[in-house]
């Protein structure tokens, strides 16, 4: 089974701090994704990556950056945390294929609170 591991289940940080959220997958997947999930808004894509050192902006990239130095690891960075970034953050990975699309597999999320 695919395993996507997010480093923290719960995290509390202060406004203005630089925050790192880490995600590791063990299935050699090329694609990795960061979402945030908020009540009434559903899952929204922040950033994604199709390969090492490659990144693409999603729908809501403002205030975030990402790093992908190794294939199995994808980090989300909040440059200067603000209270409106309090949310559930979900990481996902999927295999890249030339034909039919493969599903994304998700971690269990990091619930981040910014005080």
């Amino acid at each position: 089974d695919v395993k996507v591991t997010q480093s923290s289940r719960y995290l509390v940080k202060r406004t203005g701090e630089k925050v790192f959220l880490e995600c590791v997958q063990d299935m050699d997947h090329e694609n990795m994704f960061w979402y945030r999930q908020d009540p009434g808004l559903g899952l929204r894509l922040i950033y994604f990556s199709y390969d090492v050192k490659m990144k693409e902006k999603g729908d809501i990239p403002e205030g975030y950056s990402v790093s992908r130095e190794k294939k199995e690891r994808f980090s989300l960075i909040l440059e200067s945390a603000s209270t409106n970034q309090t949310s559930m953050y979900l990481c996902a990975s999927s295999i890249k294929t030339g034909g039919s699309n493969q599903p994304q597999h998700f971690g269990d999320g990091t619930r981040l609170s910014i005080l």
Binding site: G42, L43, L45, A92, H105
Partner: protein, 109 residues
């Protein structure tokens, strides 16, 4: 604008009372439609992928179907353990997934 709409937002069923969840979409260049289940405090768990109109997939009490404009997740004789939020997502050519907001299903015994 590309959009995925799920209905109803919430659904309460008695154990054994069959029903359907709806996912309607307006996207061009659909590459696939995905159904996920999400339990409280957990990440979404993959259920099905549908690629073309007329396709059906089944797993235990769940059956997913796809038309050109919508997908249905049929739940037959649900049990309390089927209680969860069900998410629908579509993939366009060359882009990541677009998610609906989900349907929260509660099944009481």
């Amino acid at each position: 604008e590309d959009q995925v709409t799920q209905s109803p937002e919430a659904l309460r069923l008695q154990e054994g009372e069959s029903s359907s969840l709806n996912c309607s979409y307006t996207v061009s260049g659909l590459r696939g439609l995905f159904w996920y289940r999400q339990d409280p405090g957990k990440g979404p768990e993959f259920l099905f992928t549908l690629y073309s109109a007329g396709e059906e997939k089944e797993k235990e009490r769940l059956k997913a179907t796809l038309t050109k404009k919508e997908s249905f997740l049929h739940i037959t004789a649900p049990k309390p353990e089927d209680s969860a939020t069900y998410l629908c997502a579509v993939e366009k050519a060359g882009t990541a997934l677009i998610f609906g907001k989900g349907t929260t299903l509660s099944v009481s015994s």
